[in-house]
Symmetry: C2
Subunit: 426 residues, 2 copies
């Protein structure tokens, strides 16, 4: 910067944190590059709706460049980040090196299979758009397969058993939406015996939605059970070979569909960044959001890929959007301070906005203020619509949800082949 050039900010990841940060820097006299392997920002909280045919993929994915149409100093560099060369201040990608003055890791999280390779191979993750479309295709296709006259009763039942693992918001929402999808399928498969169909939600601990008060947890379980979901608490999965799910108790559940929503970890790239990482791969950051163990003070991390802990906390902050966007605000301030020669950086303090989860059409639980049922669902819908990127997406999504609520139908139940980013089967 001594040569008069504008400071170069490189942001890895165009998620909630990365985009928010780039928007803040767009107004400054700096050059910003967002590095992402996709050209779109993904509204992850609604992925489960794509996986259950409620929404189209275009409705929860927004071109990153569109945010910065009028910001000539912000650019997208579509590439896969692979590591950081801290000696040269360069980000390494599969499309060459990108020099930076300040680097912000906002690369997000992926599914955590806790080292169970067999499960990872056969179960569905639900963190990317491709994975959600995969689940959609697979579930719809299993109905078509089960409908074939030559199936044995066992084979048919196995294909009509849908297991969701994990009682967090994603698992709850997925199980609830699947139950509703099946109600619609019932009307259209005239010869299939729907007594064969079952949805099981498996949770290792004794309660779902750990971030909500106990009465709301119980309310969520009650609503799910009413919808026909078999909620199995205190149940641990130890294996899945694509045909049978094995529980710790030794019980085996024949099923061709296991959706894994039981944990997240940082993306693999994070461990190549030269900082200290937690057990789940998240990189430890200081109170000023700088990466612990980095050689220089110009590498920051925010959001799901970062592990942040105050002195008195029991565990790092959760991997949710509000953490990422709040950290983006402080990260922007601190980098601007450094650019302006001020080393007195601001400390990050998280403001918990409460949690909410929807359990299907017209039903949800909201933690603060405490709400259940239709009112909670309206609150949930409003919050998600406001946050959804792009004025138009808001509009069609609102129409679709209303339509869905009134008519009880699901468009988008179409089966197309999908190729996963990592080239995995299906």
């Amino acid at each position: 910067m001594a040569d008069g050039k504008r400071p170069r900010i490189v942001i890895v990841g165009g998620g909630f944190g990365g985009v928010k940060l780039a928007k803040l820097f767009a107004k400054e006299n700096v050059d910003v590059k967002i590095v992402d392997r996709h050209n779109f920002h993904l509204f992850q909280p609604l992925l489960y709706q794509v996986s259950t045919s409620v929404l189209s993929s275009d409705e929860i994915a927004y071109p990153i460049r569109s945010f910065f149409r009028n910001c000539k100093n912000v650019d997208l560099y579509m590439a896969k980040a692979q590591g950081v060369d801290q000696d040269c201040d360069e980000l390494i990608t599969n499309h060459g090196e990108i020099p930076y003055d300040y680097l912000v890791l906002a690369a997000g999280a992926t599914t955590n299979f806790f080292g169970m390779e067999e499960v990872e191979k056969h179960a569905f993750g639900m963190k990317t758009l491709q994975e959600a479309l995969h689940i959609r295709n697979h579930v719809l296709h299993e109905f078509e397969r089960a409908d074939k006259p030559y199936r044995t009763p066992e084979d048919r039942k196995k294909r009509m058993t849908f297991v969701v693992v994990g009682g967090g918001p994603t698992g709850i929402e997925e199980a609830g939406a699947l139950a509703e999808l099946i109600e619609i399928q019932k009307k259209e498969f005239h010869h299939l015996d729907f007594n064969d169909v079952s949805i099981k939600l498996i949770e290792a601990t004794g309660h779902v939605l750990p971030m909500l008060p106990e009465d709301l947890q119980e309310e969520a379980v009650r609503v799910l059970r009413k919808k026909g979901v078999e909620v199995m608490l205190n149940t641990q999965v130890v294996g899945y070979d694509g045909d049978e799910l094995t529980l710790k108790s030794g019980v085996k559940i024949p099923t061709t569909t296991v959706i894994w929503a039981a944990g997240v970890r940082a993306v693999d790239f994070i461990k190549e960044c030269g900082g200290e990482c937690a057990r789940d791969g998240r990189i430890w950051i200081d109170e000023d959001l700088r990466v612990k163990g980095a050689k220089h003070g110009n590498v920051f991390a925010i959001g799901d890929c970062a592990a942040f802990m105050h002195g008195d906390m029991q565990r790092p902050l959760p991997t949710v959007a509000p953490v990422a966007t709040q950290q983006a605000v402080v990260c922007h301030k601190n980098i601007m301070k450094l650019i302006n020669g001020d080393n007195n950086l601001e400390k990050f303090v998280y403001k918990d906005l409460g949690a909410m989860a929807t359990i299907g059409r017209g039903d949800a639980v909201v933690g603060s203020p405490k709400l259940t049922g239709f009112l909670a669902w309206c609150a949930w819908m409003l919050v998600h619509l406001i946050r959804l990127a792009g004025a138009h997406a808001n509009f069609t999504v609102a129409i679709k949800w209303t339509w869905n609520l009134l008519s009880g139908t699901r468009l988008g139940r179409i089966i197309t082949n999908i190729q996963l980013d990592d080239g995995r089967r299906r």
Copy 2:
């Protein structure tokens, strides 16, 4: 049927003809099976809008079963038809044999590369949803690739050259929509030199849109040129290796994108049906729509896969939706006559409803009554909205088109990996 069972009608293909036919039979005392390798009906005339990021795939694909929710006698059998055993009256599929009393081939058409294998391997067809999504992904990705700083000027220009082959409605509409997509990309790629970008429309004959009067043909070319499309008439393609398109004149055009809209032929399955086929693979049918050369009188064919010619016609009827739906009406009547023991079948007479093509946002040409410009575009929009399946799809598509017209933006410019049905590369 002598045993008192209801007559079994098997329809191969859930396109315009097949679905229309099944709807007519739904009210009769018969059992209907639609056999299709996809679970959705595709609104093919709008495929080009998916390929250019205007519409989402869900908006032009409609689950076949949804048409027949209240018709217990109509069912979908999702499978790939492979041939017909006329001795046993069975349709052969990759999921077993399906016995029929009456069989209707409504299997549609695919891209005709006229035997040029190299072109087929490297060019994009545009007949399936997957192919349209492929084109979308590829075109958007080429912009990201061209934007990389390490490209040579030649490489960049090659990636920014988009060639559409074929001056029919599909080619015209694709070229026009691409031109508009590029106007939008211009606003979002701050560092790309758009002088490198070119769109070429190549047509072998001396005019585009052969089914329209000459002044409308000239109007279409004029509008396209105004949009920046280079229209090359009397130009024949002889080869394409993925890097260079070779013209008959010997001229070579470096390009990574060739979209082939120059011809259609019947799907391969049709030649396994035991009838007489034309050079383009379409099966010849009599005036009562029964397949010529079939062993028994219970095999019909309608739509794009059938070749129909009155005594005084120069060439078979074109492969357009109105032919298929009009044939469906007569096919239904004739099969019901046969079921009721009446062998005096109705002869099919085609009623030409005229042709139309849109050339982009707010501009189109309509043959009858003769219209151009915005008024023609309104007529085009109305006709397509009315025909689009599903009340809800109409609604969101109408909103999207209006939004698109007013704002000049395109949502859905997201890049995802797609796997072709035939497992081809990309």
